[in-house]
Symmetry: C2
Subunit: 398 residues, 2 copies
């Protein structure tokens, strides 16, 4: 297939005058979303009422959309389900992995992981006691730290701050060689870079849909369970919709077959409707072509900024194979610089303590946007336009 | 205040020819929802993009709407937050309660509780091991079963099948007298009957918003934490948005003050927008007046059905003070009878093994609907209209 990037850009409703380089935080609005959600509200909920669970197929949405996401991340059919938030899915995956390695006590992660992954692991190990431990090493030390004490590695493939990309296949193989399991957080991977979960032999994975998959604020998370494990795991978050027969209302929990047992409660139908429309954007899109264009665009941005903004320090790997689909620069005044950019219509984001982060999403970003963003950043830096009091006032959400 | 029930009915978009007696499963569509969600999609997500987290106030939605629900359930300001599903909130509340009673091992519940509550308790006790136990007794035996071994009672105030209502104040007092804590599931209470969590001294509560609060399919759950406990609990589902400083991205979890620590991941903004519009219905509504009218309507329905349908057995308490806002009858052919009713525009639901369940929601149900529903049920029973093959074919969701 040959992806038509002019066509994909036309599928988004982007505000005039804005160059949006924050799709790695919240993807922009696909045009198909509002009508699809309105139909879910009026024609399904409003007109069918309770019968929509069957008539409109609400109950199967998590598996149906899970399979569509599965295509983008190399997952076998029936191995991905949707619901809850990524934090919850991390908890489920870690618990499942620890069940499969009952004689081991260590969850191994790295200090570049997104904090909620670390927090959820802390919550789980704290509850388990008995020597369970979250062990955190520097990203570059992960490989050497995988040993026979590790039950499961918990790694986010693409670092949310630096954009550094782990080698999923190599680290999964290393984990398996040590008798450990591999859990991958795909928050900055799904829709951003080609992922081959089955090919890499990943055991568990999870991710969010509101970044590169553009499902909107608070869109549901997904979880992947390798087929060889799905029947072995008894979910700790054993909700009724992960039961084999939810409407039999049995007093005891019996997990559903496969990954569907990772469902917990009632699925968020309106958010799923938004996701369903957002996934239409991916029809006819090749992840290999997305990747090639992402590398071209991130390289172009790095070159322009490094040529014109000597005060900014590149923190994203220069080797394109070693990074995801974002570019990050460090600067002590990063927060104010980002506010000055946003005031000029270039929307990226800031990550404490000093990171300017720019997501590059070929679905709707091309050479023209990259060049213009680099020009505006150059102007902000050259004129110290960021050095104004209003750009230093911190908002609640940064 | 004097509630105007003609005015509240006009706030809903009800299909013509339908008498909807299933608001206890999925509330119908408030007219304000579709425009509010469309605004959240187009004017907030679409136009403001990532900046809507601050500009549109998305980040505080769970607490803002939690306070509005708090008014309906007798919760102090700042004690209710929203997110996730009721199953997850049950898990959080139970874990918190067990932390507060470290020397005890028993979660006490009853066999009429909704299965997901029992399943989540099974998941938690299974994970904890060390003698932790879910003890399930018959609903009428709960009071006698509260003893010094019980850490926390887990009771759904209104039974989802029978409509039987526990005495929250009395059972909470009994739990406290035995040194136990009381967790209340308000799934069939919030918006259905007056609840006074603070007055009853409840320790924790949780509920869903898609039943009597009409937030739509998969609407977020709520959780209540009594102010005396909020600072004492370290959430096991320690997600980043329950952290004291989520955007500081600290490596270690530090809980936010108060009930907000029970937040986990990114809030479902579109479902919250629907809930926000749905809560407008409650402005100017008195729960005492809702209750008085609910009792009048359920009593009227019981009288009509018992007078005309001798084959149906009332399973809801005859004493109005001992029931919630639903009426249930048992019949061995309950499933087929309900399908025949739905085919005639009377929508209730069926709960295995033999329960016909009718939710009575005074916001949009009046005497005329009750009388018409009773007439149609009488006709279905008298003519055995349910005895057709198509009414016996079970749907996935019953």
């Amino acid at each position: 297939m040959t992806t038509d990037f002019t066509a994909t850009k036309a599928l988004f409703d982007l505000p005039a005058g804005v160059i949006y380089l924050d799709g790695n935080s919240l993807g922009p609005l696909p045009r198909a979303v509002a009508p699809r959600v309105e139909a879910a509200i009026r024609a399904e909920w409003g007109a069918m009422l309770i019968t929509a669970w069957n008539k409109a197929g609400w109950m199967d949405l998590p598996e149906r959309l899970g399979n569509r996401i599965g295509r983008l991340i190399g997952a076998e059919p029936g191995t991905v389900t949707l619901g809850d938030t990524l934090s919850i899915k991390v908890f489920q995956a870690l618990d499942a992995a620890l069940q499969l390695r009952p004689e081991r006590r260590v969850i191994l992660s790295d200090s570049g992981n997104f904090p909620t992954d670390l927090y959820m692991a802390q919550g789980l190990t704290g509850l388990l006691g008995q020597g369970y431990e979250l062990r955190v090493v520097a990203p570059e030390d992960v490989e050497a730290a995988i040993d026979e004490t590790v039950a499961v590695t918990m790694l986010t493939e693409v670092d949310y701050r630096t954009g550094r990309k782990h080698d999923m296949a190599a680290l999964t193989a290393k984990a398996h060689a040590a008798g450990a399991l591999a859990f991958w957080d795909l928050a900055h991977s799904a829709g951003a870079v080609p992922v081959d979960l089955a090919g890499a032999g990943a055991d568990f994975a999870a991710g969010c849909t509101y970044k590169y998959l553009n499902s909107g604020p608070g869109g549901p998370a997904f979880i992947y369970v390798a087929p060889r494990h799905a029947g072995q795991v008894r979910p700790v978050l054993s909700g009724w919709l992960g039961h084999d027969a939810p409407f039999a209302f049995e007093p005891g929990y019996r997990p559903a077959p496969g990954a569907a047992r990772m469902r917990v409660g009632t699925p968020p139908v309106l958010q799923l409707a938004a996701l369903e429309a957002a996934l239409d954007v991916w029809d006819g899109v090749s992840m290999a072509e997305i990747r090639a264009r992402s590398i071209a665009l991130t390289s172009r941005f790095i070159a322009a900024v490094e040529a014109n903004c000597p005060d900014l320090t590149l923190v994203t790997p220069r080797d394109p194979q070693a990074r995801g689909s974002q570019v990050s620069f460090a600067h002590a005044q990063g927060y104010a610089i980002m506010q000055a950019l946003i005031a000029r219509g270039v929307i990226g984001d800031f990550r404490a303590p000093d990171i300017l982060r720019f997501g590059v999403t070929p679905l709707y970003i091309g050479e023209a946007e990259i060049d213009r963003a680099a020009d505006i950043l150059t102007e902000v830096m050259a004129t110290r336009a960021w050095d104004r009091p209003e750009f230093h006032a911190r908002a609640k959400v940064t």
